[in-house]
Symmetry: C2
């Protein structure tokens, strides 16, 4: 590999460079094969062993170590085109959708995209200050879910209003989720790790929920990690659909 | 601060040094005050502003930056004695307990301790290869829960057998958790990020559970993050206690 090539791949850790080039990095045999089998277009595939078809490039383990974003590099790394999707609020009506208001930790972002996939949620709306879903850390943390879940960045308020319908959010003063009526579709808002849901987004919330601690009077702990709260809320929405 | 002092604090990122000195690092006003108000003993407290009582040491923001393990240092950092607890399986009988089999990501470890606290689970059993709960990253990720949840490291099999009672674990071939009978107490086993529950620990599992995806035939996604699975399982155990 040339120095320029290695440098280009290393620079894709930078969001600005990803936006300029329209490329993101995906690593690992399972993820790369999933991407190649999907609508995504792999622009380049570098591998140390295995067979990834024509127009792929065999590199040495030393080169792989230099281009990989993982502590323990795998046998394959690809540069994949970031899909250009148009946000279509009409398609989201009546479905369950997540709205992330400033979720900044890449691990949380990836974990949320992964659990959205598990629970059949196809769309995640993100405020502009959320972690970028195309960063190497997030892509890897989604464990392939990024190929099936559409993540839309933009004006969160405008997106939520365009989708319409009930808007749920978790608040300490909310109604215990197990007592609440939950609709089939709706937007579930999740706040940032440090500040929770912003006042501007809170104004859009029509149904405040609360995940009860145990025992209910347990007041020592004050909060749950955002991905954990997302998981419990999504699981409860889906449980209601399955257990009548 | 002397160079040696700074060096000592920096070295506490290393597990071996924590074991030798019996100290861990805790940062941030809320966490430090929680620790000082608890049974924990803060051996030293360094602060840039505020009042943390006698025998504490004011340092410059520049010094704080050098000793802090956080990207954005706070106003206070303390060195706290690691409590010496004896594992008492008898006290755990009839209670809900988590058993972690090789959970290696510090963020997952901290998130699991935090949610254990939320759900009134006072004990977490860990195999020796789990992330160390006294590492700076885990301590911070617990958001103070480490002061209320006892984490025991050792021979996981021996600890689970000593506690006795039903042993739950999540497996793709398990019974959907919403159909399963759940007992008041028991051990919930959670596997490592990469390999899941080890065959040796699996042999101890008496009740295999499964978190259903949605829709149930959704087979694209294959797994959930371990902290997310822990959250959904714990929430369901506690929901059953609250909603009869």
């Amino acid at each position: 590999m040339t120095r320029d090539e290695i440098q280009q791949i290393r620079s894709l850790g930078d969001k600005r460079v990803r936006e300029e080039t329209g490329l993101f990095v995906a690593e690992g045999e399972k993820l790369v094969r999933e991407l190649m089998a999907s609508d995504f277009r792999a622009q380049r595939v570098y591998y140390t062993e295995g067979d990834f078809g024509p127009d792929t490039e065999r590199v040495s383990p030393k080169e792989m170590e230099r281009i990989s974003y993982l502590k323990t590099p795998t046998n394959v790394l690809s540069l994949v085109e970031i899909p250009r999707r148009r946000f279509d609020p009409v398609a989201l009506k009546g479905r369950l959708t997540l709205a992330l208001d400033g979720v900044q930790n890449p691990g949380n972002m990836g974990t949320i995209i992964r659990l959205a996939d598990w629970f059949g949620i196809r769309d995640v709306l993100c405020s502009a200050d959320c972690a970028d879903c195309w960063s190497p850390k997030v892509v890897q943390a989604t464990m392939g879910a990024i190929t099936r879940v559409a993540v839309n960045y933009g004006d969160l308020k405008a997106m939520i209003e365009a989708v319409g319908g009930p808007v749920y959010g978790t608040f300490l003063e909310g109604e215990p989720i197990y007592d609440a009526t939950l609709t089939h579709g709706g937007v579930i808002v999740l706040g940032s790790e440090g500040r929770g849901i912003s006042p501007e987004t809170e104004r859009l919330v029509t149904r405040k929920l609360f995940i009860p601690p145990f025992p209910p009077e347990n007041t020592g702990s004050e909060s749950l990690n955002v991905a954990v709260a997302a998981a419990i809320v999504c699981a409860e929405f889906r449980r209601r659909e399955m257990v009548k």
